[in-house]
């Protein structure tokens, strides 16, 4: 199997994979691939020198872990410090990380869920819809979802909460305390990057009381909850609400203000 075919197979299987390509200097076009299978790093391909391969494989594994893509400079034999690079041709290596898509878990099989699922798919999320009510949580109602789970939040988080990380999102749209309290508790026990909970300000206040009753009351925990969910765009339809939620997720990730660019200054993309 060619390196490209192996790469394609890893992408299709959603195995984390990174490609390192010499884009300038001796050996342009040479490639090395790093994957992580069952926790072990597997290296294939070569950049033309065993020491260069060893150093680049190590760096590529690090970039893959962090989900970063970018350029690094080496000497032809893997030299990496500025002193070592004097008087040697520079090998410019482009490292591309391909991590599996971020996850969005949506609790509550309601109309907002369908709209949110559609917008989340546009943004590249793997979408899981979860509701305990069998007649509502169906693939037919949520064809955009990668997965529809008929279950309660607690078992869902117990079995899979450990797979959630900083790039992932949990959106709780149920409005129903017997569902959203355990969902909030479950989400807070993970490293998930975004936790949004739907409901009016009144619902939010009542929910805080219920959360306090089950012991969720510390400011650190409560500050992770984006509730009421979404940016204040003034929209009303499920689709507009979905945009407001996803826009908030993006702004939380980037740390930007979510104001109109017209009213702010400075670099746009930094």
């Amino acid at each position: 199997m060619s390196l490209y075919e192996q790469f394609r197979a890893h992408v299709r299987a959603q195995t984390p994979v990174a490609l390192a390509t010499i884009v300038e200097g001796p050996g342009v076009g040479a490639k090395l691939m790093v994957t992580r299978i069952d926790g072990d790093e597997v290296v294939s391909g070569s950049l033309g020198h065993p020491d260069l391969d060893r150093v680049v494989a190590r760096d590529t594994a690090g970039e893959l872990e962090a989900g970063r893509t970018g350029v690094r400079h080496y000497g032809p034999e893997g030299q990496a410090t500025p002193e070592d690079l004097v008087d040697t041709p520079t090998v410019v290596v482009f490292i591309e990380s391909f991590s599996p898509p971020p996850q969005m878990w949506v609790f509550g099989a309601v109309d907002f869920t369908a709209a949110l699922g559609r917008v989340a798919k546009v943004l590249g999320y793997r979408v899981t819809v979860c509701d305990a009510r069998e007649i509502f949580a169906t693939k037919r109602r949520f064809p955009m979802a990668d997965e529809v789970m008929v279950t309660w939040p607690t078992p869902m988080f117990e079995s899979r909460g450990h797979t959630l990380g900083p790039r992932d999102a949990v959106c709780i749209l149920t409005h129903d305390p017997k569902f959203d309290v355990p969902a909030v508790q479950g989400a807070l026990a993970t490293n998930v990057g975004y936790i949004g909970v739907m409901g009016s300000r009144k619902t939010h206040t009542k929910r805080l009381e219920r959360l306090a009753e089950v012991g969720v009351s510390s400011p650190e925990q409560l500050s992770r909850l984006m509730s009421p969910i979404g940016l204040d765009l003034g929209g009303r339809t499920p689709e507009e609400t979905a945009i407001a939620i996803c826009a908030e997720i993006i702004a939380r990730r980037t740390g930007h203000t979510a104001s109109s660019l017209k009213t702010t200054s400075g670099s746009i993309h930094s």
Partner: protein, 108 residues
């Protein structure tokens, strides 16, 4: 963002039809740029395109470069696009940045 993953289906379709393919990836961007490193675009020997590497500013020029690489059969190369005062008519990004791309034949 469209990286290599999003264009695999198109690449597969072209390759199984026996078409030669080149791939361009954004390597880095100076100043303002619409796409991050890793944004990818594929071009087949007939000039068909999948994916994108900018907001439409440089795609046309990338197609010409890619077709050149497909037909010459040479190794991959870096190309830059950006606005500068001496090259008022050069292809550039409307947002004023400089974009550097690596274009290679998909023969690996």
């Amino acid at each position: 963002m469209s990286d290599m993953r999003e264009i695999l289906d198109d690449i597969d379709r072209w390759r199984s039809a026996g078409k030669k393919v080149a791939v361009a990836r954004v390597i880095n961007i100076e100043g303002s740029g619409p796409r991050d490193p890793g944004a990818a675009m594929a071009v087949n020997e007939d000039g068909e395109v999948a994916g994108s590497v900018s907001g439409g500013c440089v795609e046309g020029a990338v197609v010409s470069e890619a077709l050149g690489i497909i037909h010459d059969g040479g190794p991959g190369k870096m190309v830059s696009f950006g606005y500068s005062d001496d090259e008022a008519f050069a292809v550039g990004l409307t947002c004023g940045g400089i974009i550097r791309l690596y274009i290679e034949r998909l023969d690996w």
